[in-house]
């Protein structure tokens, strides 16, 4: 994959992370997470501009206008999703408690958000996300990890989970209980 496509993919993956983080910030009325969405929005803005410029530059050298056009259109749509995510997170930044119905809707949704703290003895502790295969085991995808006062946003497969980490996850409602039991050591990985 060329550099430009890699950047495009980065915008796509980040747009999804931003939507998940935005809903998480609303559900927990958490300004730290909302702030991260705002910062990611600036990051994807810059990436978008650089992708569009690069696409034009490439078209000027290889003459492939259609490819440049499709790239520019696609990244524009991805950026719209990022904008929408920051629009969601912005609700948290206002000095008004989010409407209780918003939380209910997020919890009612097919894709819900949950959180649990990993205690000593849990199968999730001292393993990378790839080793525990949490996503394929429980359907829950880790959006952020709170470690002490700091957050790790959008962890990857190589990220280790430590005792005391609070995981914020996104996934199906029927995966939530198993995820929580895994974190508390009540259930074991298969």
């Amino acid at each position: 994959m060329e550099e430009l496509e890699k950047k495009l993919l980065e915008v796509k993956d980040t747009s999804e992370l931003m939507v998940d983080l935005a809903y998480s910030s609303l559900l927990y009325n958490n300004r730290d997470i909302a702030q991260e969405v705002m910062e990611l929005e600036e990051y994807t803005d810059e990436l978008t501009t650089s992708i569009q410029q690069e696409a034009i530059r490439r078209a000027m050298s290889d003459g492939d206008v259609s490819r440049a056009f499709v790239t520019i259109k696609l990244v524009e749509s991805l950026e719209e999703i990022c904008d929408a995510a920051s629009g969601i997170a912005d609700v948290v930044m206002k000095n008004v408690e989010p409407h209780p119905v918003i939380k209910m809707s997020i919890r009612d949704s097919e894709v819900t958000i949950a959180t649990a703290t990993v205690i000593e003895g849990s199968d999730l502790a001292d393993k990378t996300l790839d080793e525990s295969k949490l996503a394929s085991q429980s359907g829950m995808w880790v959006v952020a990890i709170k470690r002490g006062r700091r957050y790790v946003y959008g962890p990857d497969e190589e990220t280790s989970v430590l005792v005391g980490d609070t995981l914020i996850v996104r996934g199906p409602r029927d995966g939530e209980e198993f995820f929580k039991d895994l974190a508390s050591g009540k259930a074991r990985l298969v």
């Binding site: 496509e5 259609s66 999703i81 206002k94 989010p98 409407h99 996503a135 394929s136």
Partner: protein, 208 residues
């Protein structure tokens, strides 16, 4: 989500409308990427259908929200709620724009499926083998997503597509499943769908 009878009615409460809008804003993006990956005009049409539905939902939730405001604080909170609804609708518009790229000849966008194959969560397809014990069981009773991490975003049975299939949808041999998730999850699901492994059984939980 389909187009079955009665399902196109707008939910009665703000809560239910917002839930549907949130759900739709998520599945519509997956469907848009799937339309690009599989170069599918049918999936693109579903995306456009959902996009129009979101317009209707947004209009309705605005009216209901306005009618329910009694105090200044209500109005402030409802303004935030409508901001979320608008964002969900904006995501759907973006998904609609993404499938519009299918208008251009596929030789002008050959990199689209390739780049989507490298995403963190990928969209793939598989066919349910006759010998798989997923056959004749519902998506909900198996808990496909919680068991494998793979979400079924669409399925094709014969010539008919079903989008965002319901938990009570009973799978049939030969169903083509379009799924979203990690590589690892896909391998797990494929082992069940091919019949190489049996769907896990869990002891029935004791009451309480």
């Amino acid at each position: 989500m389909g187009h079955e009878d009665g399902k196109d009615k707008v939910p009665r409460t703000v809560r239910d409308i917002l839930t549907e809008m949130k759900d739709t804003s998520e599945v519509i993006v997956d469907l848009a990427y799937a339309a690009l990956v599989f170069d599918s005009q049918e999936m693109a049409e579903e995306v456009q259908h959902l996009e129009r539905r979101m317009d209707i939902l947004l209009y309705n939730i605005r009216i209901k929200a306005m009618l329910s405001a009694r105090t200044k604080r209500d109005a402030e909170q409802l303004a935030g709620l409508l901001q979320v609804a608008s964002a969900a609708e904006a995501i759907s518009n973006a998904a609609g724009d993404i499938v519009n790229l299918l208008k251009y000849d596929s030789d002008k966008r050959p990199f689209l499926p390739i780049f989507l194959k490298e995403a963190e969560e990928k969209i793939k397809s598989l066919t349910l083998a006759e010998k798989s014990d997923m056959v004749n069981r519902t998506i909900g009773e198996m808990g496909v997503e919680s068991e494998t991490g793979m979400r079924i975003i669409a399925l094709k049975r014969g010539k008919r597509w079903m989008y965002d299939p319901e938990p009570n949808n009973r799978l049939k041999a030969g169903d083509l499943l379009i799924v979203r998730g990690t590589d690892n999850g896909f391998e797990v699901l494929r082992s069940f769908a091919s019949g190489d492994r049996l769907w896990p059984q869990y002891p029935v939980k004791e009451a309480g």
